[in-house]
Every structure is written in C-alpha cells, then in structure tokens.
C-alpha cells in the first residue's frame, strides 16, 4: 500500500469512471471525491442523497428497512407488523443483532417476525380487513405487548390501504397504542427517508403520550439516542454514562421500550450517537420541549474521553469530576489494549464503506490503533454527514458516496488496503481477492464496539482479521519464490 497524492487519487477516480457510458459517468463523477480538509461545505466536492442509477449495483436499502429495521425494530416490547408480503419481514428478521433483555414471545418481540402475509386477493380487494384481524390475533396471542406498529411494505402505498383508520379503530379496541408508519419501500432514494418517516411517526404518535404526566426528574437525566445496541453497544455506552453520575432515562432504540420513549421529553439532554437516523427527532424535541442535543462518539478511547468531557461540560462540577474519574479508571486498561495491538497493527490501512455514522465515527478508533483510513463512504448520507466527515478524514483520501459494486472493487484493487470495513455483501468478494474484511454493520457477529469495553473487542477483532495466517497462503506453493529468496526478502 502506498499513500497517494491528490493528483494520483483524482487520476484513480477518472480511471474507474472510464467504463461507464457518458451519461452515467457524468452522474457518478459527482459522487466520488478526493478529500480536501479546507472545504467548508461538502456539497462543493461531493453530491449525496440522490437516486441510484438504474443498472448499477448499489448496496442501499429501502425506506421500510430504515423504519422497521433501524428505528422501530429494536423497540422490544412493541410488536412491529410487517404489513404486506411475507418476504420483507422474514428475510430481514433478527439480522441486525440489536440485543435486548426479556423473554422473546412473552414480553419482548425483537427477533420475531409478524407479518400480514399478503396474497393476490389482498392486493386486489385491499388488506385492511386482514390488518384488523391481525391486530386482534396479536392481542389474543401476545397479551403482554405494549403496543403495535404497522410498518407498510410497498403494496400498501400502491393499493391505497387506509392503515391509519384501521390502527385508530384497533387501538380503541385493544386499548394500546397502534402506530401506522407509512414507510413503503419505494419512498425516497434509500433507507434514509425511512429513518425520517419513522422519526415523524414517533413524533406524531408516541412522544406526546405522557405530556403533563408526573415524573420524578433529576438534574442529571439524559437519554441515549441513536444507539441500536448492535452486539450490546448501548449497554457498553450506558455504563460509562451512568458511571459518571448521569441517569439514563431512555435508550433509543436498542434494548428500548415504548415507556422509555414516552418519557424522553422529560430529560435534560439528548445524547445523539447516530446523527443520520435520529437527528430529526432530536431537533423536534429541541424545539418543542427545549431539550438540547449533543452528538457524541464512543468509538476508541480518544474519542470516548473527548465525548465524556463534552457531555460533562453540559452539567455541574460533580459530573465533570465523574467524567475525569471514569476516564482515569479506564485509561490503564485502554493503554494495555493499545500496547498489545498497536505494534501489530501500526501503519495498516483501512477502507470503509458503510452507512449511518460509522464511516466517520470509527476513524478515531482505527487511529488509536495506529491504523490509517484511506477511503471512506456512506451508502445513504446527506450533505451534513459529509460536512462532518471532511474534517475527520486525512487530506487527499478518497470519498465515495453510494459507491457501486464495480467502483468499490476497483478502488480496493488499486489502493490495496490491509483491511476493508463493509457489509456481508462485500465480505466474500474482498476476501477472495485476498483482503481481510470486517463487517461494520453487525460487527461481524462480535461486539460491542462502543465505549471502553467495546474498544478492547474492536482491537482484538481487527487484529484477528488482519493477522490471520490465511492471508499469507494466498499464493499456491508452486508459484511461490524459492525459499532462499523468501528468506532474503525477510532479512
């Protein structure tokens, strides 16, 4: 691996774009950029949140994925009905690894799939009756659920079902909240609009449920927003925040409950981890309830310490002391982790291609291990995400928005990073190319990666991927240099 200059990186982009037809080339060129830290506004160098080109392999999801999979799905004590054909819910069932405590099927329903299983006749005659029946069945079979959300799949919008009316009627019958969410997959350009629609549904149907209700509040009430508890992330974050003396009233939405969400308007500060998926509701609470929000980053000890101090700065001295105490307590443990893994990982390069917050948030964690991020990109970011990314990334590094399968492969071939951080769809492509990959969507069935505890696991996992002996076995023995030459090279 070599560090490229600005001109070389630009040439690389041109080279990759060469295969496209004229029109596609013009369009894709806007989504690929060389990072320039002096640029204040990202839209001057990169275009984002645009419709993917027909015919290219995008890795984006749909609005239903953004609502059911990301925002609503992890709320564990509600039943989320995938309203429409069976596949959308079944193929995404339990894939996201948002952990929770509770007895599945009794009082929590996180990994279960509830669907109205649309058939041809439901498309022709409408599915409202089926939904009404389903709501009653759910109430009969799972009486301990706290509420229902109806997550629309594409056909619902196309045939014009009135899920709002059915939900209102059903809510009266079962005396529990039923939230209709208009997150049909065809809406918007990516899952990002699904996040927005889900946030709006929470705003309209959930958030004001306990306005004016009594609540024993303390000056140290906070809520964790935008932490989906992938592999236990939110728990690893929560213990740090509690340890510094704050009271976590609610967790959104990993291991979260409906009651927690309803109580969120009572907190003093919203701590926002995933800006992309939950900034809408944070802005709403800022306006309606006057609750300020703060973006933080819990990846890697440097950023954790920075964030803990930034959070503490919003409170009195006891919390500030608490933050220092927490940082001091974990410092030696983190130093031990860095001492162990940094010599093995020093100078290794990483390319990232994920969504949400990770393309910029994990950079700090890699830097703590002495690794360098040479390319990063989002599946579904907007301009404000890139505004924040430009400052985090080194100069002349590569930025790619909504990269196609072809582009990503070509970039990796040319830049030859030591590690790629992306998802399952990319994993085996790159591993067959001889480049280790860690899934940064689901932490590759490991985790948590947030907080101090998470960093130890993160460091171990990255080392495990890069230092795996299999990568030296890529060349078959008969194509290998004679052993003496090998030894000479090593010496």
């Amino acid at each position: 691996m070599t560090t490229l200059t600005r001109e070389q990186t630009e040439a690389l982009i041109q080279e990759v774009l060469e295969v496209y037809p004229e029109k596609a080339k013009k369009d894709r060129a806007k989504h690929l950029a060389v990072n320039d830290q002096t640029v204040e506004q990202s839209k001057k160098c990169i275009t984002s949140n645009r419709k993917s080109l027909p015919g290219v392999m995008t890795v984006r999801g749909c609005a239903y994925a953004g609502s059911k999979g990301v925002v609503w799905g992890p709320i564990k004590d509600m039943i989320h009905i995938s309203h429409g054909p069976v596949g959308c819910g079944q193929y995404s069932r339990a894939g996201r690894r948002n952990y929770y405590v509770g007895t599945t099927g009794i009082d929590t329903f996180g990994t279960m799939n509830f669907t109205s299983d649309f058939q041809e006749k439901d498309i022709v005659f409408g599915g409202d009756k089926k939904l009404a029946k389903l709501i009653n069945e759910v109430e009969l079979l799972f009486p301990l659920h706290k509420g229902i959300s109806v997550q629309s799949e594409c056909p619902i919008g196309l045939i014009g079902d009135d899920i709002e009316a059915v939900s209102k009627k059903g809510a009266k019958e079962i005396n529990k909240p039923i939230v209709p969410v208009r997150c049909e997959g065809f809406r918007g350009v990516s899952q990002s609009l699904g996040h927005h629609i889900a946030n709006d549904a929470i705003r309209d149907w959930v958030l004001d449920a306990r306005d004016g209700a009594p609540f024993e509040s303390t000056p140290y009430d906070v809520s964790i927003i935008g932490d989906y508890n992938i592999g236990g992330d939110a728990w690893a974050s929560r213990i740090l925040i509690e340890e510094m003396g704050l009271r976590v009233v609610s967790q959104w939405s990993g291991d979260g409950t409906l009651a927690e969400m309803e109580k969120t308007p009572k907190v003093k500060l919203n701590l926002l981890h995933c800006y992309r998926s939950m900034n809408y509701i944070s802005r709403h609470m800022e306006e309606k309830y006057g609750i300020p929000w703060l973006e933080y980053n819990f990846f890697g000890p440097t950023k954790v310490a920075e964030s803990l101090r930034a959070i503490a700065a919003r409170f009195d001295d006891s919390i500030k002391e608490g933050a220092e105490r927490v940082i001091a307590k974990y410092q030696p443990m983190m130093q031990a982790v860095i001492d162990k893994y940094k010599p093995r990982l020093q100078g290794k390069t990483v390319m990232l291609y994920v969504g949400g917050l990770r393309p910029r948030h994990v950079i700090g964690a890699y830097e703590d291990l002495g690794m360098e991020v040479i390319g990063t990109g989002y599946e579904f970011a907007h301009g404000d995400d890139y505004d924040r990314t430009i400052k985090e990334m080194g100069n002349a590094t590569l930025l790619y928005d909504d990269a196609t399968g072809f582009e990503l492969e070509e970039f990796v071939k040319k830049l030859k990073p030591d590690l790629v951080g992306s998802g399952i769809k990319e994993k085996y492509v790159f591993q067959k190319m001889g480049i280790p990959l860690r899934q940064m969507h689901s932490w590759d069935y490991s985790g948590p990666y947030h907080g101090y505890d998470g960093f130890a696991i993160f460091a171990r996992d990255m080392d495990m991927a890069i230092s795996n002996p299999c990568w030296s076995k890529q060349t078959p023995p008969w194509k290998k240099l004679p052993e003496t030459e090998e030894l000479k090279k090593a010496a």
């Binding site: 809408y280 802005r283 800022e286 306006e287 006057g290 301009g383 404000d384 505004d387």
Partner: protein
Amino acid sequence: MANIMVGKNAAGAYSFYLPKRDLEDAIVTMEFDSTDKWGGEIRLNNGGVYYIEPQALPARFPISLRARRVDAAE
C-alpha cells in the same frame, strides 16, 4: 416558501437549518433583531439570502418558520 429552523448557539449567534436541503449554516446578518421586530432578510455564511416575515422576537429558540428564498448559494 421553505420550512426552516432558526436556532441560537451557545455563543448567542443565530443558526439556520433547512431540513429539505440538509443545510446547516450560521446566519451572518439579520435585518431586524429587536424585541418587537425580528426577521426580515437573513444572510447566511454560504452567501444564501432568505426572507422571514418580520415579527416579534420569538420567545425561545430553536423555532420553525416559513421563509422565502431570495437568493440561494447553490
């Protein structure tokens, strides 16, 4: 007309947010900024100009408003 959100940061400066465009920016100048008359033409850091109907100073920030685009920076 566009829905915008005007906020105030810790230093007391006005900030501008246009959700449709994901545009977050500082407000450099505001035509009227007194208790009884507030709003008018606002100029953003990126050069864009918007117009808010002059009104009494909002009781608290952030606040969602309707604004007219006079000149955008795009």
